[in-house]
Assembly symmetry: C2
Homo-oligomer: 206 residues x 2
């Protein structure tokens, strides 16, 4: 084992450790998409990634360890917020992005799998919450800009508005099974924009 | 094995088969709440329910089989819709009910577990969708009454309105981890009622 493998946090990007991680996370995502978290097997991930089983067990330890690292990697992939000039335009862009992700055959199942893993493990849950925290924070300027433009009142909670856009689409994916189509995405955006304009997401600060 | 055990669908409620099922589903729910779907073990459920392991394996076969039967049992437990005289009142009652369920230490974790199971198995997913279909249908009269009272336009999709109430609360449970508190429940109800009044849930029928 090389020194860089012993201290993965300190290596330069593109080094051997980074390549191993990329291959393992790619294989983990593929297997999660194919069969879900319940059937994720570390040895199988290592074999598919063409990485030594010992390396995989030493670094990720458990299927949950893999999911936690996958979530960290997903959190690093920036999805810059829209800037269409209107709140409805920005929220519609956000809803379409979420709908595309959740209906993508691979991505949708990966999201189901990581959410499933988070229901069984507190550290995975923390990694999941951090992922959504980053996404919600990244898109907050859409709501701040809307407040500046006078489309929503001062004190409107950006996180609540953006959660309201995503939530109906996730509810379809995880609970009702109703289709995540263009109508669902545009309705989610329009309902959130309308409720924001009506001041329903203003946070009361005492 | 008695004849009634061989044909469980045909037995009278309260018979031995019904008592076995009740004990097993209770134990399954307890274990799901304690450790999640990933760690559900049929032999352990049987032991805790004080039911023969052979009976449990013959009847439920797998942890997923248990979850599917638990969902059928949950679907049978009626939660009659509110009738407060206003759409906002009814949706607030619905939001409070959902929030209470999801924050209940046992129930919230059972919901996470059955949703997790549904991500790994198509039959469990079908059972889960059926459960939500029944709940959403049971509360649809709240929206129909609102249309009659003129609080929402004709053609308003009751299922979409009720999904909009639940969705932000489920999003907090399963994705963002944000608290499911009174403010979250009342905001979900108010945003859904406001969007419904604005005609945003009208289904366009060509």
């Amino acid at each position: 084992m090389t020194p860089e493998e012993l201290t993965p946090g300190s290596v330069r990007p593109g080094g051997r450790t980074a390549r191993v991680r990329e291959a393992v996370l790619q294989a983990a995502g593929d297997l999660l998409a194919e069969r879900g978290f319940f059937h994720l097997d570390l040895a199988e991930v290592a074999a598919r990634a063409e990485v030594g089983k010992t390396t995989a067990y030493r670094r990720w330890r458990t299927p949950t360890g893999l999911v936690i690292d996958l979530l960290a990697d997903m959190a690093d992939q920036s999805l810059p917020h829209a800037d269409t000039g209107s709140l409805l335009g920005d929220l519609t862009a956000n809803a379409q992005l979420v709908a595309e992700t959740l209906t993508d055959p691979r991505q949708g199942r990966v999201f189901q799998a990581v959410i499933s893993a988070a229901t069984c493990d507190d550290v995975a849950a923390t990694a999941l919450h951090r992922f959504y925290d980053i996404r919600l924070t990244e898109w907050a300027p859409c709501v701040h800009n809307a407040i500046t433009r006078g489309e929503a009142p001062d004190g409107t909670d950006a996180r609540a508005v953006l959660s309201a856009v995503s939530a109906p689409l996730y509810y379809r994916l995880l609970a009702s099974g109703d289709p995540i189509d263009d109508l669902a995405a545009s309705t989610a955006a329009r309902a959130a924009a309308s409720a924001a304009a009506a001041g329903l997401f203003v946070t009361v600060v005492e």
